[in-house]
């Protein structure tokens, strides 16, 4: 009989420790959502490099929440510890409470907790920017610096959404983190959120990357709505060639100007421009390749997994998250709209030399947003090639969203 009781107790203990005993319905819903994201990443190829690690992080943390928990310390009564470890030297700290001595035995946390420190401490996003800088050609922006206007216009959505978030009852810091989704720049959104509202990191990161993946679906209707057929058919003159010296000077000048005017944007802009300087100088091919390949890939894995691990059912499935998702979409649409509207203004100001479709590329999301401008332009006129013209506002958008992030951090932190 004793054997049967012990067997039953063991089975019950195993079930209680298993997922069946520790998870609630929200975890199961999140597991289903992670399956949908895995499907979208693999089958539909929506930003798979980012979406797949996020989805797997989400899956792991909802199956086994301990994987993202930090280390703990067990306080074991001194006598009990000595009995259990006869003849061993005590390696841990000893504390005394109410006249009883305790041994503080530490237990390490889960893998994703340690990976998450790179997000929490703001290490991963600047390193991603380093890789982006090493991959980006700022030539189209240097040859047509007016593109910066479109890059700036697309950031207006960030600040309008900020007010929308306040109206919905978010705190000013949370509103700043939600607004930055409108920059359509994943690393910037994560960086700002990790500083202003770390609790919202999961929903904001998932929203930012989801909308970046959905650029080809979200932007075209807005672009068509705000432009006329005639405007969409405008052909732009070929950009002038940019010398190597100009390309080398660009990252240095931008870093100096931005760091002097907005010290809070220095980390992001500085790393972006450092990556670009390595590329354009042409003398450090080995570290340039490391920055844009191995380092970028490693950080993307760490970032994706740790961001996904913040999306637990208990945090993610709430009205606040739904509010964040809706505000993120609003921010993104506003950014696109203001980019196109400023494109129209530039079109009028230049006597029809600028195609307003390139304005939508001001919302970072490199190079997807520029490709969308190209695609929508070619739908009207197959012989129209807007890609290189749209790359100017696109890379200006990266600088613009980093500057906007610096503004929000400096005012709200």
């Amino acid at each position: 009989m004793d054997i049967l009781t012990q067997f039953w107790n063991s089975v019950v203990g195993i079930i209680e420790d298993s997922a069946f005993g520790t998870l609630d319905w929200r975890n199961y819903v999140m597991i289903l959502i992670s399956f949908v994201l895995i499907y979208l990443a693999i089958k539909k190829q929506y930003e798979p490099l980012v979406l797949l690690p996020i989805a797997v992080g989400m899956l792991l943390v909802n199956l086994c929440p301990a994987i993202a928990l930090g280390g703990t310390t067990n306080m074991i009564p001194f006598d009990e510890y000595v009995k259990a470890h006869p003849g061993e030297t005590i390696k841990y700290a000893i504390t005394e409470l109410n006249g009883i001595k305790y041994v503080n035995e530490p237990h390490s946390g889960g893998l994703l907790f340690y990976l998450y420190q790179g997000v929490k401490l703001g290490i991963y996003p600047p390193l991603i920017f380093l890789g982006i800088g090493a991959m980006t050609d700022f030539g189209p922006l240097i040859s047509n610096p007016k593109s910066f206007i479109l890059g700036a216009a697309a950031q207006i959505g960030i600040f309008i959404t900020f007010i929308g978030a306040i109206i919905l009852g978010f705190t000013t810091k949370e509103a700043g983190a939600i607004g930055i989704i409108g920059g359509a720049d994943g690393p910037t959104a994560i960086y700002v959120t990790s500083i202003l509202a770390p609790d919202l990191l999961g929903p904001i990161a998932v929203a930012a990357y989801s909308y970046m993946a959905l650029v080809p679906i979200i932007q075209p209707p807005i672009m068509r709505l705000l432009t006329t057929k005639k405007e969409r058919q405008i052909k732009m003159t070929q950009l002038r060639g940019v010398s190597k010296l100009e390309k080398i000077l660009f990252p240095i000048i931008v870093t100096v100007i931005v760091a002097i005017l907005l010290p809070d944007a220095t980390t992001l802009v500085g790393m972006l421009m450092f990556g670009n300087l390595m590329k354009e100088s042409g003398v450090v091919d080995r570290i340039t390749n490391t920055a844009k390949n191995e380092l970028m890939n490693i950080i993307t894995i760490f970032l994706g997994l740790s961001v996904g691990s913040t999306a637990t059912g208990q945090i993610f499935l709430s009205l606040r998250t739904i509010g964040i998702i809706c505000l993120g979409l609003f921010a993104f649409c506003m950014g696109t709209s203001f980019g196109v509207l400023f494109g129209k203004i530039m079109c009028k100001a230049t006597g029809g030399k600028v195609n307003p479709l390139i304005g939508s590329a001001g919302v970072s999301a490199v190079p997807m947003a520029a490709r969308v401008s190209q695609k929508v332009g070619q739908e009207e006129d197959p012989s129209n090639f807007l890609l290189m013209h749209a790359m100017g506002p696109n890379v200006a958008g990266v600088v613009g969203s980093a500057v906007a992030a610096g503004v929000l951090i400096s005012i709200l932190k």
């Binding site: 240097i142 960030i158 600040f159 306040i166 080995r286 500057v403």
Partner: protein
């Protein structure tokens, strides 16, 4: 709430103005340095072009046309495995023209160098001589 909204509008105004000001400043500076760099480079190009012109005129007057003769070992046949492909010959001819000037050299034949480094040796040399 009202206080937060006030702050919201302040940030909207400040944020938009600052972002535009910083980026417009960058436009001005980029235009300025681009023009400066283009002007300097154009002046330099003109000077070097003048120098080159004077040197080549003297050279052409004083020196006879150089005739380069290279004996071929690998036959130039497209159906032979050991033959040098016609595209390679064309590329070599173009490179020689660029270096010596148009019409200054007459290529009679092209042969493979027998003292060539193996691919492994070349990779090793490239790896060790590349700047860090």
């Amino acid at each position: 709430m009202l206080e937060n909204l006030k702050l919201g509008f302040t940030i909207l105004l400040a944020g938009v103005v600052i972002v535009f000001c910083v980026l417009i400043l960058l436009i001005g500076i980029i235009k300025l340095y681009s023009e400066l760099v283009v002007t300097i480079q154009n002046t330099y190009k003109k000077k070097t072009a003048k120098k080159k012109k004077s040197v080549t005129r003297e050279d052409v007057e004083s020196q006879p046309v150089v005739k380069q003769e290279v004996v071929t070992e690998a036959p130039v046949k497209s159906n032979d495995d050991s033959a040098i492909p016609l595209e390679v010959i064309a590329a070599i001819a173009a490179a020689v023209e660029v270096v010596f000037g148009e019409g200054a050299v007459q290529i009679k034949s092209v042969k493979r160098s027998s003292k060539r480094r193996s691919a492994w040796k070349s990779a090793g040399v490239a790896e060790n001589t590349r700047s860090f």
